[in-house]
Symmetry: D2
Subunit: 326 residues, 4 copies
Amino acid sequence: MPIPTPNLYPDFNIIRLSHVVFGVSDLAKSRHFYVDTLGLQVTDEDDNRIYLRAMEERGHHCLVLEKSDSATIKSLSFKVFDEGELDKAHDWFKKNGHPVEWVERPYQGRTLRTTDCFDVPIELYFKMDRLAPIHQQYALYKGVKPLRIDHFNLFSPDVDEAVAFYNQLGFRVTEYTEDEESGKLWAAWTHRKGGVHDMAFTNGRGPRLHHTAFWVPTPLNIIDLCDLMATTGYVDNIERGPGRHGISNAFFLYILDPDGHRIEIYCSDYQTVDPDLEAIKWDLKDPQRQTLWGAAAPRSWFEHGSEFENLDPRDAQLNATPIVAP
Amino acid sequence: MPIPTPNLYPDFNIIRLSHVVFGVSDLAKSRHFYVDTLGLQVTDEDDNRIYLRAMEERGHHCLVLEKSDSATIKSLSFKVFDEGELDKAHDWFKKNGHPVEWVERPYQGRTLRTTDCFDVPIELYFKMDRLAPIHQQYALYKGVKPLRIDHFNLFSPDVDEAVAFYNQLGFRVTEYTEDEESGKLWAAWTHRKGGVHDMAFTNGRGPRLHHTAFWVPTPLNIIDLCDLMATTGYVDNIERGPGRHGISNAFFLYILDPDGHRIEIYCSDYQTVDPDLEAIKWDLKDPQRQTLWGAAAPRSWFEHGSEFENLDPRDAQLNATPIVAP
Amino acid sequence: MPIPTPNLYPDFNIIRLSHVVFGVSDLAKSRHFYVDTLGLQVTDEDDNRIYLRAMEERGHHCLVLEKSDSATIKSLSFKVFDEGELDKAHDWFKKNGHPVEWVERPYQGRTLRTTDCFDVPIELYFKMDRLAPIHQQYALYKGVKPLRIDHFNLFSPDVDEAVAFYNQLGFRVTEYTEDEESGKLWAAWTHRKGGVHDMAFTNGRGPRLHHTAFWVPTPLNIIDLCDLMATTGYVDNIERGPGRHGISNAFFLYILDPDGHRIEIYCSDYQTVDPDLEAIKWDLKDPQRQTLWGAAAPRSWFEHGSEFENLDPRDAQLNATPIVAP
Amino acid sequence: MPIPTPNLYPDFNIIRLSHVVFGVSDLAKSRHFYVDTLGLQVTDEDDNRIYLRAMEERGHHCLVLEKSDSATIKSLSFKVFDEGELDKAHDWFKKNGHPVEWVERPYQGRTLRTTDCFDVPIELYFKMDRLAPIHQQYALYKGVKPLRIDHFNLFSPDVDEAVAFYNQLGFRVTEYTEDEESGKLWAAWTHRKGGVHDMAFTNGRGPRLHHTAFWVPTPLNIIDLCDLMATTGYVDNIERGPGRHGISNAFFLYILDPDGHRIEIYCSDYQTVDPDLEAIKWDLKDPQRQTLWGAAAPRSWFEHGSEFENLDPRDAQLNATPIVAP
Ligand SMILES: [Ca+2]
Ligand SMILES: [Fe+2]
Ligand SMILES: [Fe+2]
Ligand SMILES: [Fe+2]
Ligand SMILES: [Fe+2]
């Protein structure tokens, strides 16, 4: 059986993905991409870091750009339900053999740094500085009108193992792709917050971050972004789409930032709060799995990803081949 | 202080609103409205009842039309997190002096019938027949392309009392309107599922059901519905909108069904899963509260509602007057 | 018979409306409205005038803001098919007893100033400075993303007379409203360029300019403008809409500039190039005439307009009453 | 110089493209595609032909499906400005050595059948049965909500020659692609009705019909059609797109009907009524020429087309190669 029984009562309560720290080589270039083009809002910046939030978020940041020699990912962060959950998390990770450390993070309360099953650096916190709402300051909206961070997608050397691990943390599978021959998972989408996913896993050399997704109001905002990027020097940064995913039924666009970190612009998936929601299974060879309209993803989409800082990826166990654009 | 501290650990776990039973005088007329015009899908029907679901729902029904001598509301229903939560709910309601009864409902498992603080008939269940997904059967989409039931809004004779009651059940306030003079709540929006609301309360003769809302993909679907209703004999059933709410920031349209039950078509609110989300306060006299663009709601919107079966409404305690269209 | 036989072979060839000169009391305030909020592009400006074009236009200006003691309209301008048509127009207006004058206009070639049947100042030209296309410079798009000027609508003291006059100039009626009792026209829409209208006439104290309309890509841009105006101090400048017109079937919004000049934001009408297109007749008492969805226009919409410079309006002949919002 | 001076005073006045007759192998299959899926309206049908119109058209047909042994194109038709223009056209074609014939066509008045410079069968008429408007019967809208026929695109063995010929007929070039090496035209877009084109020409084995385009309200209707086709057995009929054209700036989708006739769904180009509109030049090697967002067209798009009945195509003179998807 490819997917585990959902763990409805995990030992601690992660409520959602929260933010990610990207190492970037040139803050000015990244700022032009994320602020002037995508339309994220700067909440703080100095010579080393830019903190960003999307339009409906009240937490201080959903994306941190950190000047860095390597374009690596520093950590993936998650918000827990209250302060006490942090302690429960600390104990769980420690008990299960993961390194645990309380770290200082600007604009955040107590923050627990640990790792997942593949040594991916993850951080958990409850308190982050709360900012005044700006979602009705329409003069601030620009670019793709990003509303909120939606999910992470990771290349995983063993998707079954990733799903088993995050299932312990209460991430519930909503859709998945199975390799018919081996019976192994090729990809899976798992959620905490009631959408199709907070975390997805794709078979491939990993762990690496495949992409970080932002939610936008409608497909027309995605078309607007294509027009804007195509006429402001970013035409080569449009990697795939726009289109409708088979999996998740969402409307998507994949773009690459100046350092090659992949961003998905995403809207229109569905509500998944029911604990008895049945996961939807897709066959790896179904051409509508990736794009409902039939267009295959380009090879780069299956091969390129961002490494985590100081963490060497390894090849995937599963050698099954998806449909790649010719 | 007008709103209570959120109860993050209620005695039992309601995950979301689920469905409503409308008494209707003519099933054929109601079917023409809900199925042929709005685009809800029939999941079962006989001479007495039509069961409907929206496009992304897998539960058997979100709306039940029941042939009835009176156009009253039979019950409001909620889904709980698992079977055990039903027993906890049973005990809680009983302990707190509400009538409790296990009732039989087609397509549902054990169902607890009880009442809220104003004797509104509410029903809780965990299990409902699960149907195959149809959200990617695009040939079935029509009308306004309804995706899911979103919320109930009730006229309440005392909004402070309603909020206090539902707060015990874990409904968290996201936005509210205060009457500056009395310091009392005039309206409040409260959620369980992570959107702006599952349940809202509006000051007025009550308890009565003000409206039931359905979520749709984009504002353009709402424009499409206006065009359709305006040219198929339903022009007088368009009561208010379309427009953008100040409260919730959602795009809305209010329409009346053949029996006068009010339906809101709704999209574009925001995610509220953070337990530390700060509620947004509005002044009753703010003209942008109702409609961000300044248009006042018509008098009927403040006065007309659907009564619950065998339940006489009473006048509201608070006599404050909202802004009404001239 | 209320509308004349179309004159398919007028004595000279006007191809389309072109631009209008608004007297404004405060150029900075007007600039904030038209440039920063609506999104028109400045093509020239000095202490007395701001020249503007919309995104797909290559002519130098579609709107000129002129600092003025009175918020009056200085002229309505039209482009003719070639230089020779100007001379034909000159002779025609002179022969028909209208004052004719060759005037100097910046960025334009020879310009004929004359009047219509109610002494409205109109100007005709063929040559205007042509600018490089900007319609694919998507970084310039903002506000409502105005694409082009679409039409003028005038209050006319006698719509039959206005239609008879413009019919001589080849303006063809596409839709019209008749007062059933008197058999007189209450309003008419007439075109040269192949859309529903270049010039419309509404019964009322006149001549006055009722509004100037700009074409935008989709209804969603109009919703965006409502959101923007509502949150940047312009909520009281939103007069009517958004909605679907019965007449023209277009999606619309009416707003007022800082001097009270009315602007319509408009999209989605239909192609009318067929010379044998049958005009569509509407009854003045049809509630869907104004707004297909049934909402009546407010009283201000029937009463307020911009006077032309040095031209006193007179009361309308026809006293029929349209449906006005209560 | 690659494009000729526009002929502003052609010998007769064609106002717009009108309709096309497709030979189809199976009327039922074609009906399912054009009526049930795209949403065109049947205006007449029998065992041999189906006549169709789009939602805002009042002429009887814009597309005729004719049962046929070969999936060829029977004729391209154009509407002239009045009856007298037909006689002028007759004389012009005869004088210039083209075969001329008055033919009987159902629902049309006098119809002149002749040929263009490559023997493509073209038909001209003024009168066609006019039908009652249906553009406000919103219950009839379905599929992609086609509003009107927009343009033909032909493979031409010599685009310079095609442009020279149609320029004599008053078709004005709005945009064009030049092969830098040879200085010859690789493609051109020419119009009569005030949009980017009625007729476009693409270098290639020809004459063949590359595609017929229909205008729809917004890009979202095109997304809706993709979703519908992808889930009703037509996923393989989606050939290219959706995307934004560089040339014309329109939003597009290319699909293939059951016989392989290519249809473009199209919206959002710009107004071109100015006689002094400057044509926009593109380089054949500009990757944003085809798709502003950079995606190359597939090979089939450059190679596949529909032949005209009894007319053998020949290879193109120009051997320049466009950018083709790998
Ligand atoms: Ca849209
Ligand atoms: Fe994703
Ligand atoms: Fe509501
Ligand atoms: Fe207008
Ligand atoms: Fe085309």
